[in-house]
Subunit: 310 residues, 2 copies
């Protein structure tokens, strides 16, 4: 049955892709088996990460960018990582509606993934969903995340080209730097750039990009302006993505980066397995029982950990 | 022999404290045993973290602050975490020389810890060194770190009060936010505040502190000015530390924070042990052997991890 599902995914059948991603989201045992079956067909898609604070217009940019990519004949996948967030609820709904437009196009696959359950698990699931889309033959996969917190920075770092989207409202420069987005951005986009503050933000960004240590110190990180709702600047964005892709490919950096990601993935798989196997109900209960005594210095954490490993 | 060493540490003997910290730094098996013997005497010292970019004057502030503390009769320990850094080499040497001044005072213990070896291990060692100083009866322990990178942010978060030290030179606001220091600062200090740019930096900081989510949202994070080399503002700094300490103690936040740190410590001890036990030479060699094949999609990472767990 899984063999058949894998075949259908390789054949780019939407229902099969959807089912595969669901298996991954539900952490089904079959998910692991499915990923094994698909793995040899991965490694071909180019991953674009789009991240930034809520309200920056990421979904609009994703939508506009996918139209450009489709116009050039590319097959694309889109994973929108939706943290369950109290202040973006409405926006998320609107985003999904906008993305429905692409629904009937056979060579576009869109999926929203939400944080129901553990946030840490979400990064792993998003990456596995990308593997499924990769195996199904997509040329580009866009991973859209809100870019807040370690987990989503983690997802962003999986991408080959990471785009950080900002808007000219005050505090955005702060948010960017606070969230560690300065380090991971390969291309910066000032969206809604027809609004006031756009020029100021542009100058601030360029200044900071000069001040900071850049990941690829022989490359200048571009800052571009868009008004995605009016489709302005999107072709330019596509050009910069291609330019970055070529830069990575020419200097062997892409292969190096993906190999590092692979080692990281293996380490995470190992640590996950180790931790899950370790924390049995018994051990968790023991921790509950002992924690107060340790706080009060009646037992040492070291003795307690030794006890766990008996 | 360890019992005797522990006794001498509890008796605040400098040689014994130094030896204990060396055992911890060398990851000696005796270190674990020693920490168990000392643990019930820990939990009394109040931890002050001092962090910020190189050149901000952290050592000068540490020095000046210790004089204030000593003046009030407190016993203090100082751990200076020195990453091996190419551009602060000279400064570090100068710092150590400055700290020698306190060398003859029996109730001040100073130790520099450097990154020879793995950076990740350094956070663990610094915390363990603090436990030794705590057990030896110190009232305050100052942990000084450069505040760059996850490892040192980790150390900073161990502290009860974390002080972020900046100087008015351009780029500092950027560095602060980039490094995630905005989140962990309980008190911000603009040192060398007689220099130009001091007022601008102050305004920028206060603005950003209002914009960001504060850890304790019912407390305003103070920004104060010092010229540590002239001993200006240090008494004020001490007052703010006391104020923060009282705030934490009154609202039960200190106990809560230390308990969270304890759980974190237990988790780290467990994960450390799990990882170390797991990665035997055999397994590491296997990874070396297989990694290219996995890159080339001949084997899947999932199958490889399964193989590791056989």
């Amino acid at each position: 049955m899984l063999d058949h599902l894998a075949e259908r995914i390789l054949n780019s059948e939407k229902n099969a892709i959807a089912r595969g991603i669901s298996l991954v989201e539900n952490e089904s045992k079959q998910a692991g088996e499915l990923l094994k079956l698909l793995y040899k067909n991965t490694g071909k898609a180019y991953l674009i990460g789009i991240t930034g604070p809520p309200g920056a217009g990421k979904s609009t940019i994703t939508n506009a960018l996918s139209k450009v990519l489709r116009g050039k004949g590319y097959k694309i996948g889109i994973i929108a990582v939706d943290p369950t967030s109290p202040f973006t609820g409405g926006a998320l709904l609107g985003d999904r509606i906008r993305m429905q437009e692409s629904g009937s196009d056979k060579d576009v696959f869109i999926r929203s993934m939400a944080t129901r359950g553990s946030l840490g698990g979400l990064a792993k699931k998003a990456k596995e969903a990308c593997e499924i889309l990769d195996a199904s033959g997509k040329d580009f996969i866009i991973i859209e995340t809100v870019g807040v917190g370690q987990s989503e920075l983690d997802i962003a770092q999986t991408a080959d080209t990471t785009i950080v989207v900002l808007v000219p409202e005050s505090g955005d420069a702060v948010q960017t730097m606070k969230a560690g987005l300065m380090e991971i951005g390969d291309i910066f986009v000032i969206n809604k750039s027809d609004r006031e503050g756009s020029e100021t933000l542009g100058v601030a960004l360029r200044t900071m990009l000069h001040l900071k240590m850049t990941r690829e110190s022989d490359r200048e990180v571009p800052v571009i302006k868009t008004v995605a709702s009016k489709n302005k600047g999107i072709d330019e964005l596509y050009d910069f993505i291609v330019r970055h892709k070529e830069y990575l490919e020419t200097k062997g950096k892409l292969a190096k980066k993906r190999r590092e990601n692979l080692l990281k993935q293996i380490n995470e798989l190992v640590n996950n397995k180790l931790e899950n196997k370790f924390w049995t109900e018994d051990k968790k209960e023991l921790l509950e029982k002992r924690i107060s005594k340790i706080s009060e210095r009646e037992i040492t954490p070291y003795d307690f950990v030794d006890e766990l490993f008996l």
